[in-house]
Symmetry: C2
Subunit: 326 residues, 2 copies
C-alpha cells in the first residue's frame, strides 16, 4: 500500500520517449502492490500502469510475468497488455529500477463476490489455462510442497503462540500432503493468486485478470483449488456451495476437469489452504514493530483447511465425479 | 501517503447515483494527502477525485474549501471543480465519512521548478487573489501569529535537541514578528500552501492549482511571501533571484503590489518561513516510533528565515520599490 520511489516528471517524460504511448498528461502513485511502486498514468493515448520493481522482485522473472500477460492478451484473455519500447523490450529502467508499463484495465474488484462473479472467475481461469498451454517459458512454483516446508521451519518455533497446538497441526498436515501430493495431473501456467482483488468486473461482467507475480508452472487443478479457497467462503468462513458450484461449473464448461483432477481436488484444496496459511503465519510472526499494515489473519486458513479435511469427494464442492456439474 | 478507508465498489456505485457524472468504471486509492483518503475514479464521463475526509478535517470548513474552488472555477482560475449532487450539495457521506468529488486535473507538479514555472505560479496566484475578492465566505488563518505562538509552546522544550540555540532563536524571532506584524495590508482569500506539489503544469504551461485545505482569509502579500519561500530557493537553500524576479514580476503584472505590501515583504517572508519551520519542527519532534514517513527537515526553514532577516528591501527579491520589475 505504498509508493516507495518518487519519480520526477522530467525523468518520466524522458523515459516515455522510448515508448509509443503518447504524451504524458498526469501520473499518480496508487495504493496497490505491497512490494512495488505503481503509478496510474494518463497520456494522450490512454491510461497505463507504470510499475517500478523494488528489491524483492527477481529481475530474472520479469520476462516470464510480462511475457505471459502479452501471450494471454494475444489469445483473447483480458489481462493487462505490456507495452513494448521501440526496441521491443517489455521492461526498461527508471529511477535506477526495472520499470514496465502495462495498459490500464477499467473495472473493479468485488468486495462482496456473488455466485455470478464466481462463475465469471471459473470461466476466465479455464480460458487462461487453455491460452497458457503454448506459452514457451517455464517458472517453478516456489510456494509448493518444498516451499511450505521452508515456511513451516520459519514459523514452527512460535506457531503455538498464535494458537495452541498449531505447530503439531501444521506438521501433521504438511507431512500428509507431502506424502500424497500428486505428480501426474495436467500441468500448465497457473495464476496462483487469483483472489477477488485480482479480478476486475464491470457490473457482473469480468473485465480482466491482473497481478501475475506468483504465476508459474504447476498443476492446473491446483489453481482451481486456490480459487475455491479465495472465492467460495463467506466472511464467517462458512463454505458457500452455491458459489463453488458456479465457479467449478463455469470452469468445467471451458476446460473439463479430468477424473484424476476431480479425485485430487480435496487434497489440492488442503494444500492451497496450507500455502496461504503458512505465508500469512510467517508474515504475522514477523510484523515490524510499529508497522502500519495489519497482517492478515492466518487462522482464517486453519478454518478453511479443516473444512477441506472433512470433504470426501468432488461432489461436496458441487461438481459430480463424472465431470458433469452437480 | 495512505488510503485509510477502503470503499466497497457497490457502496461507491450507490453513492455515485446522487451525482450526474456517469457510470463508474474504476477507482484507485492514490498516494496523496496525508490526512484524507483519495481515489482517482474513471467514469463514463471522465476522471474525478473522490475524497473521504478523515477525522482531522473540520466538517464546518468544507463549504469554505469546496465553495472556494467552485467560485474560482467560475472565474476562470484552473482548479478542481467540485461536483454537486442532484440536490446541489458539494459534499455528501460515504463509508461513514464526509465525501466530496472534484474533477481530475491533468498535469504534473514540477520536481525541479524553473523560472518559467515560477512565472506561471506568480501569474496564477495573482489571478486567484483577484478572483477571490468577491468570495463571500470567511475563514480565519489558524496558522498566523497566534497559531505560531501555540506551536512554539509545543516545540520549545525540545527545540534545542534539534539544533542548539534553536529555542532562543525562535522566541526572539516570534516576538519581533508579533511586534511588527502588519494589520493594514490588502486582505483576501489566500491559498496558504502553494508549494510545487500543489501546482500542475503540462510542459511549461500551468494547468491547475490544487489542494485548498489551508486556504483562508489573510493578507494577500503573505501568500506571495509563502510562494517565494516555496519556489525560489535551490535544493542547497541558496536564494535564486532569477526565480523570485520571475514570480514577483508575473504576479505584479496581474495584481500590482502596493508600496506598503512591498515594504512589508521581507517581514512577511520571515513570518512565512517561521510558520513552516514551526509546523515541521512540531511534526519532527512528534514522529511516532517506527513511523514509515520521514518528517521534513525543519532546519531548511531556519536557513530561509536567516536569509530573509538579511534582506533590506523588496529590491533584494527582484522587484523595484516603485512596483516595477527590477
Amino acid at each position: 500500500m505504498a509508493v516507495y520511489t518518487d519519480v520526477a516528471n522530467d525523468d518520466l517524460a524522458d523515459f516515455l520517449k522510448q515508448y509509443d504511448i503518447g504524451e504524458l498528461l498526469s501520473y499518480k502513485g496508487i495504493a496497490e502492490g505491497v512490494e512495488n511502486s505503481n503509478y496510474l498514468m494518463h497520456t494522450s493515448k490512454g491510461a497505463y500502469i507504470l510499475t517500478l520493481y523494488e528489491k524483492r522482485v527477481a529481475l530474472d522473472d520479469l520476462p516470464y510475468f510480462l511475457g505471459l500477460m502479452a501471450h494471454l492478451c494475444e489469445r483473447g484473455v483480458t489481462c493487462p497488455q505490456p507495452q513494448k519500447t521501440r526496441d521491443g523490450a517489455v521492461y526498461s529502467s527508471l529511477a535506477g529500477r526495472p520499470a514496465a508499463i502495462i495498459n490500464f484495465l477499467e473495472g473493479m474488484w468485488p468486495r462482496r463476490p456473488s455466485a455470478v462473479h464466481c462463475a465469471g472467475v471459473g470461466d476466465a481461469l479455464a480460458r487462461m489455462h487453455v491460452a497458457g498451454q503454448d506459452f514457451p517459458l517455464k517458472r517453478a512454483n516456489n510456494l509448493s510442497v518444498e516451499g511450505w516446508r521452508h515456511l513451516l521451519d520459519l514459523a514452527a518455533p512460535r506457531a503455538d503462540t498464535v494458537q495452541p497446538g498449531l505447530r503439531a497441526f501444521l506438521e501433521t498436515e504438511l507431512n500428509d500432503l507431502a506424502a500424497h501430493w500428486p505428480s501426474d495431473l495436467p500441468q500448465g501456467v497457473i495464476h496462483a493468486d487469483l483472489f477477488p482483488d485480482n479480478v476486475f468486473f464491470l457490473g457482473d461482467k469480468l473485465s480482466g485478470l491482473i497481478d501475475f507475480p506468483f504465476s508459474c508452472n504447476d498443476m492446473l487443478a491446483y489453481d482451481v483449488a486456490i480459487c475455491v479457497n479465495a472465492w467460495c467462503f463467506e466472511p464467517d468462513f462458512s463454505f458457500n456451495a452455491t458459489k463453488a458450484r458456479a465457479l467449478l461449473n463455469a470452469y468445467n464448461k471451458v476446460r473439463p476437469l479430468t477424473p484424476a483432477e476431480q479425485a485430487a481436488m480435496p487434497l489440492l484444496a488442503r494444500g492451497s489452504a496450507l500455502r496461504f496459511l503458512l505465508t500469512r503465519l510467517v508474515d504475522y510472526l514477523n510484523v515490524p514493530e510499529g508497522a502500519f499494515v495489519k497482517p492478515k489473519d492466518p487462522l482464517e486458513y486453519v478454518r478453511k483447511l479443516r473444512f477441506h479435511q472433512s470433504v470426501k469427494s468432488m461432489a461436496d464442492y458441487g461438481l459430480e465425479a463424472a465431470g458433469q456439474p452437480a
